[in-house]
């Protein structure tokens, strides 16, 4: 479990169309609901077109840089294995690479559109964010995209329910 006093750095990556930015958005909102200062930085414009997508999410008491300094990411959340190889340099020495969760998702998520939320569930095990904040965030970001089903998938990724 990461302590609350330091800044938590999470790098989300993948390719356009995988829901990378949606996953980072949900996590960002969850941290906002939890009362943290949050910064999330990404590049728009090419995201729909299959190119590399990365989102830097940082939260804590007070966050300065919107970008995670190289070598300081606590977590690498990847939806595409080649992208994790490219961006692993961002991880700190004992940072957690969640790329392996993709294998678990492949085995347990029938509808591929929910993989992004399943892996958020896996990430949530490492973060001091309450289930209530996560669910509020899912409601806020996925209001029109079946939030209840997404919550179930989130819990499955977290290792609860289903």
């Amino acid at each position: 479990m990461v302590k609350n006093n330091g800044t938590v750095n999470i790098l989300f990556c993948g390719t356009g169309g995988q829901g990378v930015l949606v996953a980072a958005e949900i996590c960002g909102w969850a941290a906002v609901f939890e009362g943290f200062h949050v910064k999330k930085s990404e590049v728009h414009g090419m995201a729909q077109r299959g190119g590399s997508v990365e989102s830097h999410l940082r939260f804590g008491k007070q966050v300065y840089s919107p970008l995670i300094p190289r070598g300081t990411a606590d977590f690498l959340v990847s939806y595409y294995r080649d992208e994790s190889l490219r961006l692993r340099v961002f991880l700190k020495p004992r940072g957690v690479d969640l790329t392996a969760e993709l294998d678990r998702a492949d085995g347990s998520v029938a509808d591929k559109r929910y993989i992004n939320v399943f892996i958020l569930g896996a990430l949530s095990r490492h973060l001091a964010l309450s289930e209530g904040s996560w669910f509020k965030a899912i409601d806020a970001v996925l209001a029109r995209k079946n939030p209840e089903e997404n919550k179930k998938v989130f819990l499955a990724g977290r290792g609860e329910g289903l």
Binding site: G28, V32, G35, G45, Y64, L67, P69, D82
Partner: protein, 575 residues
Amino acid sequence: MRRNKTPDTAFLSGDEALAQGAYESGLAHAASYPGTPATEVLEYLSRFPDVQSQWSVNEKVAFEVALGAAIAGLRSLYASKHVGLNVAMDPLMTSAYTGVNAGFVVVVADDPGIHSSQNEQDTRLFAKVAKLPLLEPSSPAEAKAFVKKAFAISEEFDTPVMIRLTTRVAHTKENIEIFPRASLPPKAFKIDVPKYVMVPRNAYLRHIDLEKRLVKLQAYAEKTALNTVELKTRTIGFITAGVSYLYVKEMYPDASVLKLGFSFPFPEKRIREFARSVKQLYVIEEIEPFMEEQLRMLGIKVKAKHPSFRIGELRPEFIPEIVKGKEKREEPSSARKPVLCPGCPHRGVFTVLKKVKAVVTGDIGCYTLGALPPLSSLHSCICMGGGITFFEGFSRGLGKNVVGVIGDSTFVHSGITGLINAAYNKVNGLIMILDNSTTAMTGSQPHPATGVTIKGEPTKKLILEDVCRVAGADNVDVVNPFDLNNLENLVRQRMQEDKLSVIIARFPCRLIDRSRQPAPEYRQAACKKCLLCLSVNCPAIRKTDDGFIELNAAYCSGCAVCVQVCPAQALVKRG
């Protein structure tokens, strides 16, 4: 310390926070043309019924409409990306002379690192050239606070005020407090010919006023809370602005910092005072040596980045490198390149243009991706509208082998004048409007030829084929870009005729019309492994290890471009 949860906290990007701040300031009018990373300013404002917001035809039009509204008495805002401001430079330069009436804020979002642009020009230099005050927020929360100050400065000094964002401010999200909107009556408009009619004598007198205004603005820069000093250790101090400030704070939390939120005119006295208070002074800024040059003019001893760091955006880990005086190490990009979406209507057009071996003058939009291999069939891209004007220029040197391509939104933005010019100056040949019925690259904004406003209301629809005929095109054909045979025959014919022709290849972008046909059937037994289907560069087709192909039916939209290029009938349309 955790902050209290309040229902009035939102999680907004720099663009959105700035828009919210403008709204709270009593903004009544806003105009823009879409462009990354500035697009979301107007998208956010369009939700408010009490703000007149518009996608304008182009940035020049947006600037003039917005400035006009300010002179008429409404708090008004213009927003664009950096290269969009180039289009609006004509009114921008003289707006410094006329001044405003109600507050007028010019928001420009730069793209250091060229994530989604054709260059990485630095808008701060434009503020100096135009003699306009410049504010540089470092974060979304500051973007919101600064725009409120900008309206106040605009009205106090009777000047447009520029706010410069960069990608890492515009597209960073942060917790933002939402407040109610200020209720402001419009300012009274008075006819004032010497102020608003910029004929030579009037303009000369206004220039005198402008120079006096700059002196007053410099005095303001010396005292404004937009510029802040944080004195900590005296051994090292930084002068910085914008997002660079946050990188400095991240990497050197104990250093002294002079942060210029109001970075033009330059607060000389505060800078000299700060410089005296620290042992070693550094200036940290993205792209151009804007502050560095001014510091050197003041004779202040300061260390600055190696010129190699003028290329690309800064990152927090670059700051210690800059402090050590190192050169930037360029790393080869291993990021995946974007590609036309499955079912994109541009794919058929570039497949045909490749086959006819045309030299293709391109423009700005998703279709610029036609330049990437293996399509490799777009050969110039410089600016908006250039697809048509470079067609004319190239034709003068290369004759009939040239085809100009331009998107529908781009054609309306600045292609029409080029078409009129080509007709008037007797150029023949083929121009293609790749009409996907939206401004696709920036996220599907409507434009005049869609017949819908920014607020989603129906409006007068511009008929592109009528415009082309009136502008002087001899032939105007509207075709379905997925019928490759028909398209190829027509393209060959029109390229050879001594006529000026426009082919409008019309099919909606897959992101606005998600309807699809079944994926084709792949008959592996018939496949000759020629891999011509891969030449159309569709993300739904993949080569397998044994030299055959695999279709991803979940991605495929059933556009059948691959079916039409397959010589062996191994790909067959279903149904």
